[in-house]
Symmetry: C2
Subunit: 117 residues, 2 copies
């Protein structure tokens, strides 16, 4: 059930067919956002200490906050067992969501309806 | 920049080409795991209060803990702005990772090396 990728100490991300892994950003007990990273975005994030992602809609590398100024300072990067997802523990400068909410997850799911969190 | 899916109060998940959304599970300030849900997995999770996912490797619905007993009791489900990711706040019964670790994110990324968190 385990292998080198799971138990080893070498960074070896398992990129999907589009060359992406999932990135989850948290601050304290709040999930701020979920986005995607390609190899370049991960490298830039590790190098600069600011979160970079791959924008699937725009088809380009994207530094979070590049226009809004709402960058995410990265305190720690963790990777999961099969290395297809990273968890970034961050300090956000301003709201993480483009809607102006602190977190993108500003709604609760209650059956087939949503409610403000 | 916003639309009904982002600002409305109707559950309208934006499934990808494979019919999946991303699901992030947290307990306190820890991200336990990241997995995927199809519509059925989301419905089962909301209906039962126990986390269900779609296993991409096995190609079937999967109740977390169905064999190990390490189920995730779901306290709250939130959805993000564009409704392609859900955040589950859970109470885990036992370790969340199949390796026996409490969280799948048991390694830090430090350059191109990993270290125990």
């Amino acid at each position: 059930m385990t292998n080198d990728r799971e138990t080893g100490l070498v960074l070896d991300p398992k990129y999907d067919a589009a060359g992406l892994i999932t990135a989850v950003c948290t601050h304290g007990d709040s999930v701020l956002m979920v986005a995607h990273m390609n190899a370049e975005a991960l490298a830039k994030t590790l190098e600069t200490g600011e979160a970079h992602f791959w924008s699937r809609s725009r088809g380009r590398l994207w530094k979070k906050g590049e226009t809004s100024g709402h960058v995410l300072h990265v305190r720690q990067v963790r990777i999961d067992c099969d290395q297809d997802a990273v968890w970034l523990i961050v300090d956000p400068v301003g709201p993480a969501c483009h809607t102006g909410e602190p977190s993108c997850f500003y709604r609760l799911v209650e059956g087939d309806r949503l409610a403000r969190a």
